[in-house]
């Protein structure tokens, strides 16, 4: 599904990612851990197509290079990024936004636009599955949402848009244990043979609830160690420094 070879990324002439290799197959869940400033968020941004980065190396999604594909096309092809800091968009109703978003993805896939009734049904189903209060959807997008509500809203968007590759950028940070469980539940119930996940986190805590197939440790723009879920426990005990 995702194939990254010798990825080098700079911003304002400062190199952040220095030759990163990563392959994610359909159905796999990869966790990327790493200290502050190791390039985790940059990796998420580059995958979603954010402007402003100088990129070299290979970046393939479903066999095709992503490099010249703009952000919205990547989303339409099934890449989803759950933001570390979801933005507040004043005046934009969350429900309307979600419907517009879902329909632009459906349209790009050549599918029919969803009507209001089916959309409402879908939203009801996903909110109750996640145990999210439906009321937040009638509010302005993320405006005045608590930290937890914002993150839950990201996972709800993921559930509704139903992407093939979901990238979770520190979705667990700043969450209480109940919210963390909701997030984990959202991910776990979406896992199947076709869906892949890239879960970026600081801590092992989230990985107690979401079982990764692989754990990578990112340090100074490179993957320095790859292992299975035990690696996360090791990191938790010894810290990142020992691994370098």
């Amino acid at each position: 599904m995702l194939e990254i070879k010798n990825l080098q990324v700079s911003i304002n002439n400062k190199q952040i990612i220095k030759g990163l290799n990563l392959t994610i197959k359909p159905g796999e869940l990869h966790a990327v851990m790493g200290p502050n400033g190791s390039g985790k968020s940059t990796l998420a941004n580059v995958l979603s197509g954010k402007n402003g980065y100088e990129i070299s190396g290979e970046l393939n999604f479903n066999g095709k290079s992503l490099k010249k594909i703009p952000t919205e096309k990547r989303a339409q092809r099934g890449i989803f990024l759950a933001f570390q800091y979801p933005l507040e968009i004043p005046g934009v109703n969350t429900n309307n936004f979600l419907k517009t978003s879902l329909n632009s993805i459906r349209k790009a896939k050549g599918e029919k636009e969803i009507d209001s009734l089916s959309f409402l049904k879908l939203v009801k189903e996903k909110t109750s599955e996640l145990g999210i209060d439906e009321k937040i959807l009638s509010r302005q997008l993320n405006v005045g949402f608590s930290g937890g509500e914002k993150k839950k809203n990201e996972i709800l968007q993921m559930k509704i848009l139903d992407p093939n590759l979901s990238i979770l950028d520190e979705t667990d940070s700043g969450l209480d244990i109940d919210a963390l469980r909701i997030i984990a539940k959202g991910v776990n119930s979406s896992r199947n043979k076709k869906k892949s996940f890239l879960v970026i986190t600081h801590y092992q805590r989230l990985l107690d609830y979401i079982k990764p197939d692989f754990v990578h440790v990112l340090s100074d723009g490179k993957i320095v160690k790859t292992g299975c879920s035990e690696l996360a426990e090791e990191v938790e005990k010894t810290g990142y420094k020992k691994l370098n």
Partner: protein, 412 residues
């Protein structure tokens, strides 16, 4: 056009009383000596109307024929009463949803007791105004449905300058909600002087909107007088006009008045829209709130000049004004001049003004959800104007306003 001076014959030919003749001649003389306003005047600091008019008109005539209109097209979006104006002249009215005895509607009955003005457009209006309407609501009457004032201009007004006077009086404990809806297909100048009186405990909600993009150059001087505990709301929406200046003066002359002026505009091409306000807090315990939002594309220009004046006895005044502009083009211009003039010591007054382009991070966020850049910008633009649209409480009218705004945004 290089010079604009009106011949006195235009007035003296008419069979009118001596008083009227003197009033009109005096004002014409004033206009001819002042000319159209330009940037040298503080009230026109950002707008050279003289230059705009000379650039866009080769000739201007003050005589306007009022053609016969047999069929009128009404909006079907919501139930309403209506006044239908043709070139400013009262054509028909219909108050089928209301108790007719409570409403007086007439062609404007000119009076000639206005004080001398230094505003040349008012002088011009005084000199030539003939058309217009006068609306009065009796005491203790609340309108059941909204009133639409259809402001229809025919092709006969091309290259004319219309001078129109309107008067609205809401008596004690009465309430009305009107929508002034302009339908225009001509290139002309519309110079309006409107006088609104809100008596004790009365309430007025007014909404201004245009049906389509058009070549109209509109100036409206709006003089509002608010009496005890009255409540005025003015909502100014986009706006297909080539040029529009709303010059609003509100006198809060008795205690406990409320005055809200809000605007949501989407301007494109070389449209020029200006809102100038002067809120005079002349009595204690009044509130005024202004929120002007403009989205500016291509070479459009938006201006907001807002002044809050608080007289020494107007203690406990609560006054706020803000203007925000969202610039979608490097060639668009936004000028804002907030002013506070306060002579009382126990008041709460503040202002704020911001302008900027679309937030790239917000755009990126929306685009990661599959929206293309244009759709994401449209969503942000609509969101930006939303807090003003929110003031339209009726859901059917809100839907109507939103669809008009969307038309403008989608045309861009």
């Amino acid at each position: 056009m290089h010079d604009f001076e009106i011949n006195f014959e235009k007035i003296n030919n008419k069979k009118i009383t001596l008083k009227e003749k003197e009033f009109r001649n005096k004002n014409l003389k004033l206009f001819n000596s002042l000319g159209f306003p330009n940037k040298r005047l503080e009230n026109w600091k950002f707008t050279d109307l003289k230059e705009i008019i000379y650039r866009n008109f080769d000739q201007l005539d003050v005589k306007v024929a009022v053609p016969n209109i047999n069929k009128i097209n009404l909006l079907k979006d919501f139930d309403h009463n209506y006044i239908f104006l043709v070139n400013g002249n009262l054509h028909t009215s219909n108050f089928n949803h209301e108790e007719k005895s409570k409403i007086k509607i007439n062609s404007y009955d000119n009076d000639f007791n206005y004080p001398t003005s230094t505003n040349s457009l008012i002088c011009l209006n005084h000199a030539f105004a003939e058309n217009g309407y006068s609306l009065e609501i009796e005491k203790n009457y609340k309108f059941k449905k909204a009133l639409i004032i259809y402001n229809f201009f025919t092709k006969e007004v091309k290259n004319k300058i219309l001078n129109i006077k309107n008067k609205i009086k809401i008596n004690e404990n009465s309430e009305i909600h009107f929508v002034e809806y302009t339908i225009n297909e001509s290139k002309f100048i519309n110079n309006v002087y409107e006088h609104i009186v809100l008596e004790k405990n009365s309430k007025l909600k007014s909404l201004y909107i245009q049906s389509n993009k058009n070549e109209g150059y509109f100036y409206k001087f709006l003089q509002n007088k608010l009496h005890y505990n009255s409540d005025y709301l003015g909502l100014i929406f986009s706006s297909g006009l080539k040029f529009n200046k709303m010059d609003i003066e509100c006198d809060l002359i008795e205690k406990n008045c409320k005055c809200n002026i809000l605007s949501a505009l989407f301007l494109d091409k070389n449209e020029h829209q200006e809102i100038k306000t002067r809120i005079n807090h002349l009595a204690p315990n009044c509130k005024s709130f202004q929120n002007v939002k403009k989205v500016l594309c291509s070479k459009s220009k938006g201006v907001y000049q807002g002044k809050i004046y608080v007289k020494d006895n107007a203690q406990k005044t609560d006054a706020y004004q803000q203007s925000k502009a969202l610039l979608l083009s490097e060639n668009a211009e936004f000028d804002s001049k907030p002013e506070l003039e306060i002579y009382a010591d126990d008041v709460k007054c503040s202002h704020g003004s911001t302008s900027g382009s679309v937030d790239e991070d917000s755009l990126y966020y929306l685009m990661t959800r599959g929206l293309n850049r244009d759709d994401a910008i449209k969503l942000l633009v609509k969101g930006f104007l939303e807090d003003v649209v929110e003031f339209v409480k009726s859901s059917s009218i809100k839907k109507f306003v939103n669809s008009k705004l969307e038309d403008r945004i989608n045309e861009h």
